[in-house]
Amino acid sequence: MRLAKTLRFRVTLLFTTLLAVVLGVSFFMVSAANLGIFEEQAEQELETGQRVFNRLLEQNSKLLIQATQVLVGDFAFREALATADGPTMLSALQNHAKRLGAELVLLSDLQGSVPADNLGVARDGVYPFPDLMQAARKDGVASGIKVVKGEAYELVVVPVKAPVVIGWITLGVKLTGKVAKDLKEMSDLEVTFLTKDGKGNWHSFASTLPAEQLKDLLSHPTHEKRLELAGAPYQSRLLPIAGGGGGHVYAVLQRPLLEILAPFYALQKALLALAIASLLLCILASFKVAGVVTTPLHRLVAVAKKIRDGSYAEKVERPETSELAELADSLDHMQVAIAEREQEILALAYRDSLTGLVNRAGFLSELGRRLENSTQSQTVMLLDLDRFQQLNDTLGHVAGDRVIMRIGFWLHAEVARFGGVLARLGGDEFAFVVSGTDYQEVLQLVLQGFERQLAVDERKLDVRASIGIASYPEHAATAQDLLRCADEAMYVSKRKKCTVSVYDAAKRQFREEHLSLLGDLKEALNQEQLTLHYQPKVALDGSRHCEAEALVRWEHPVRGFVPPFEFIPFAEQTGYIREITHWVIARACIDGAELLAAGTPVRISVNLSTRDLLDAALPAFVDSCLTMAGLPKQYLCLEITESGVMEDPDRALETLHALRNMGMALAIDDYGTGYSSLAYVKQLPVSELKIDRAFVKEVVESEADAMIVRSTTELAHSLGFKVVAEGVETQEISDKLHELGCDFGQGYFYSRPVPLAAFAAWLRKYQGL
C-alpha cells in the first residue's frame, strides 16, 4: 500500500493544504498590510523630516539675515561703508563677514554696481544675483541658495541703511558637510545637497551619507521614492531648493528603511514561525484524527483478508464510529453468509445429484480422512457396470438413471452396514471404502446383490459389474493412488471377464514404465533409435519363393532392446503410433527398393494399427513413399488385425478400399484370435490371411488345431485368399502346414527377424544365389 494512496495520508494532506493556504493568504495579507503601515510610517517620517528640514533652512537664512542686519546696523561699519575708500570698504566687509562665518560677501550700491566683492563673483561689476536683489528690493531682505564657483551657498541680501537704504550687503555661507550634519541631527534624515551639471551628471556639495551610498545615489535617478543604495533601502525625496542663475540645487532627504522595517521583519519572522508550528501541529493532529478512521479500517481489512483466506470465525471488533460499526456488522454478516454458502457449495461439490451419494471428490476427501485418521487398513472396491452403455442405448437414459439409482440404493445399504461409505464416481462407476482387509463378507453380499434381477419399468434386468479391489497401505499410500489401483484392478477384471480382481503391483510398474517411455519414444524417432528387422515368409511349395514381414525394433540407449509389445500398445494409446507407422512404411519402401536393386526383390509386409486405419491420409502417404523410394507397389503388403477394423468399421473400410484401389496387397493378421468369422473377413478387401501362432504351435500334436488350420485354409482358398501360417518353429510343423494346404510359413524355423543386411544374406543363401 503506497503511502500517497492511503486515506490517512490524503486526509492529512487535505487539512494541511487547507491550513497552508489560509496561513499563506493571511501571512501575505498581514505582511502586505504591515509593510504598507511601515512604509507609510517611513513616508510620514520623511514628510515630517522634510518639514523640519525646510524650517531649518528657513531658520538658517533668517538667522543669517538677522546676523547680517545686526552687522549692517553697526555705526562704525556703516560709516566705513559710507565714507571709506574701496579697499577699506572691502576689508571692513571681510572682517564682519568673518564674524558671521560667511565665506562670501559683496556690497552693491543702489545703481546695481558692485564696489566690493571678496570672491570676485560679480562679472564686469554687475551684481550676479538679480533675482535675489529683486526680492530684496520688494521685501526688504532676501535669501536663497545659489551655486557659486562650483559650490552651493546660502545667500542673504540685506540693505544698508543710513537711515535710508544706501546699498546692499550680500552674504553667503557655504553649504558644507557640517551644515548637512546639523540638518541631519535635527531632522533625523540623511541630507545630501546635489546639482546636475550641463552634461547631466550629478554632483554632491555635501552629504551625510556614507561614501559608498553617496556614490550609488549619484549614479541613480534621484527622484525615486524608494531607493536601494549599496544594498541598503531608503525612503527618499528629491527637493529642488534653488533654481535660476548658477544652476539648480537639490536636496535629497532620506530615511533609512532598515531601522524602520526592522520591527516589520521581526514580525514577519514571528508569523512565519507561527505558521510552520501550526502546520506541523496540523499534520500531527490530522494524522491522529485520520487514524481514528483508518485504524479500525485497517482492522476490518485484516478481517476481510482472513475471510478471503477462508477463515470465517474472525471476531469483528465493532468500532465506535457508527459508519464503521455498520461496515463491521456487514462484514460480520457477510462472513456468516459466506460460511453458510460455502457449506452449501461444498455439499454440492461433494455430492452426486442423481443418487445423493458422495461423488468422486467427496469420496477422495472421505478416503483421505480415513487414511489419515484410522490406524486400520482400508480397502477400496471399485465397481463398473458391464455393458451399461448398451443398456442405456437400448432402454434410454431415463431407465439407465433408474438402474444407477436402484443399484446405488441397495449398495449403499449393504456398505453402510459395514461402516463403509459408498460413492458414485460418475457414469456407471461406484466405489466404496471399508475398514480392514477382511472384505470378503461385504464382497460376497455385493456379488449376491448383483445376482438378483433388477426390475426397471416392468422389465427384469440382469446387471453385472466388474470389480477392482485395492488396499491401504498394501497397494497405495494416498487416497488418489488407492482409487487408481482399484480402477486398474477393475480394468483387469473387465479384460479378463473375471468379475473381481485384486490390484497387482507388478502390472502397475509395467504401466509406469510405459509413461516414462513416452518422452523416450519421441527421441527414438528423432535420433533414429528405431530399426526394421525382417522375418521371411517362405513359400511352402518348395519353390524357394520368399516374402518378408518388417518388424520394428527399438534400441534404447539406456534400456537396450525394447520389445514391440512394450511400446507399440502404448504408442497406440497415445496416438504416437501414427508417426511410427509412417516411419516404418518409409523405411520399408527404401529397404524394399534396395533389395530390388540387389536383384532379390521381396514383397515386404508392414503392420498397420487400428489408428492407422482411421487415417484417411494414409493411402496418399503410402503412395508418396513408394514413389520416393522408386518401389513398385506389388512389393509392399499392409497387414491389419481384425480388431483394428472392428473399432470403427466404416472409416477403416474406407481406408482399406482406398488402399486396395491403389493396388496394394492387404493381409489379415493374427486370424483366429478375434471373434470375426470368415464370412465377415470375406467382406474385407484383403488377399491374404495369416493364421495365428496359437493354432500353429501344436498343429502336429493336436488333431483339433490341424482341423482348424485345414478348414480355415480351405475356406480361405475358396474365397481367393492366400494363407500364411505364423509361428513355424520346426521342420515337422512346416511339413504339416504344407500338408494342410497353407501357402506360406513364417517362424524361427526359417529365420528370426534380422536386420536388412542379414536378411539379404539369408535370402541369397536360401535362394541359392
Binding site: 546696523g73 555705526f75 556703516r78 560709516e79 561703508l81 559710507a82 565714507t83 550700491d109 545703481q111 541703511k161 543710513a162 537711515p163 535710508v164 544706501i166 546699498g167
Partner: protein, 208 residues
Amino acid sequence: MKYDKIAACTGVVVLTSLLSVPARAADVTVTVSDGQGLAVADAAVYLLPLQGRAPRGGQKGSIEQIDKTFVPYVSIVQAGTAVSFPNKDNVRHHVYSFSAPKVFDLKLYSGTPSQPVVFDKPGLVALGCNIHDWMLAYVLVVETPWFAVSKERGSVVVENVPAGDYNMTIWHPRMKEEMMQQVKVGASAQTVRARIILSKPDLRRQGG
C-alpha cells in the same frame, strides 16, 4: 556713497497767472497734490532764478527731536545755514548723516548741542539717529533763499519772490525724482498747482 541729483522733469504743471502787471516782489503759492488729487504735505519747493545769483538769506535752522522723531521731517535750507538739533526728549540721541553734502554725527547728547551743524554744500542729506534706527529726517540744501515745505493742506507759500523767471523744483521723499518747471514771477501773488507722483514708500516708522 553718492546721490544722483536732479534729472529732467517730465511732470505736468498747470500754471495760472493771476496778475498781468509785474510788481517788485510777490508770494508764490504752490499747491501740491498727488495722482489722486490729494494734498501732499512735506513737499519741498524752491525756486532758482534763471539769471543771476540768489542772495544769501537767513542763515539759521532747527530740527528738533520730539518723541524720538525728527521734527520737521523735511527741512529745506540755503547752503551755509547752521542747523541746531535741540533734543526735547529725556533720552539721548546720536544724530548722524553719511550723505555726501554733509557727513556729521552728534554723539550722544541731550538738550541742544552747543555747536549747530552748518550745511555748506547743496544736496540732499538724510539724517538718522544711531540709537533709534527708525528716526529719519531729510535736509534739502539749496542755493536759494526762496523755498518752503508744504503743510498738511498741501499748500506751500514761497514769500517775497522778486519778479523774474525761475526754475521751480519740487521734491518729496516719496518721489523718484525731483520735478522742475519754469515759473515767471510777477508783481502780484500767484498760485501754482503742482501734481506729483509718489511712487516710493513712506520710510517713516514709529519707534518705541
